[in-house]
């Protein structure tokens, strides 16, 4: 990875983090009781990474695009630490059903979204 590509990847990660911050804020203002923002972010980001990965594997876009859009933008947009924290906080508040949604539910939905993205991307 060239220094310029590394820098672009990092900046894309910063942009992804800002997108997550703003989108989570907007969703939180509409649904204040359940942390659905992280769910929407991680599922949609997994779909896009799957799509970009498959398109890059097919040679339609260069591997540099996978670094900037995948490792950078989608890596910075999606997050594991917040999802894990929300799960532990819900368990602490005895909201076990909601904790199951933010842990296993989010994982299954994200894996399915990534699989859908990979499949769609392989058609090109």
């Amino acid at each position: 990875m060239t220094p310029l590509l590394f820098l672009l990847t990092a900046v894309a990660g910063g942009v992804g983090a800002v997108l997550r911050f703003v989108l989570d804020g907007v969703i939180r203002s509409r649904f204040p009781t359940f942390p659905i923002g992280t769910l929407v972010i991680n599922v949609s980001g997994s779909f896009v990474l799957g799509l970009v990965t498959a398109v890059a594997l097919g040679g339609l876009v260069p591997p540099e695009a996978l670094a900037v859009l995948g490792v950078g933008l989608m890596g910075g947009f999606t997050t594991f630490s917040t999802a894990s924290f929300e799960t532990v906080r819900l368990i602490g508040g005895r909201r076990y059903g909601a904790a199951l949604v933010t842990s296993v539910g989010m994982l299954i939905a994200s894996v399915l979204a990534a699989a859908l993205g990979l499949w769609l991307g392989s058609l090109f």
Binding site: A17, R20, M74, T82, T87
Partner: protein, 146 residues
């Protein structure tokens, strides 16, 4: 009415998230470049996610014990939590790697997905416990100095 403006519509706070997110992503990318995946298993991403979960648990617990989420505490949370640790850890790679792994070895895919989930939750809990213990020690020291 500057107080009523939400954090995500404040350019200064957005800037903190951007700087933290860029540095967190750069750290993750550097670690991924430095450490080759062992036999195709994404151990580096798993370690990054578990370590980030521990750090976020400790950070949010330590900040909440020091007072309300406002002023300097909110800026620290957005720079290091939402920004750095949010950009450092990733969910899209966890999901995509698991799908790619499943094609070759469903067992490894399950180990990656569920292993990260369980270790991450335990790490978050450990981070919270460690920060709570550290905060009690701090409270004792503050009292002893009075």
């Amino acid at each position: 009415m500057a107080e009523a403006r939400p954090a995500w519509a404040n350019w200064g706070l957005i800037g903190l998230v951007f700087v933290g997110g860029s540095l967190g992503t750069a750290t993750r990318a550097a670690l991924a470049l430095a450490i080759d995946p062992t036999d195709g298993f994404p151990a580096t991403v798993m370690a990054i996610n578990v370590a980030g979960a521990l750090l976020l648990g400790a950070l949010l617990e330590a900040l909440s014990r020091r007072g309300a989420d406002e002023g300097a505490r909110r800026r620290i949370r957005l720079l290091t939590g939402t920004g750095f640790l949010g950009g450092f850890t990733t969910y899209s790679a966890l999901a995509t790697d698991s799908v790619v792994l499943a094609a070759g070895s469903p067992a490894l895919a399950l180990l990656n997905a569920l292993g990260t989930l369980v270790l991450g939750a335990l790490a978050t809990w450990l981070g919270i416990v460690l920060a709570a213990r550290g905060d009690r020690g701090r409270a004792h020291r503050v009292r002893a100095h009075r």
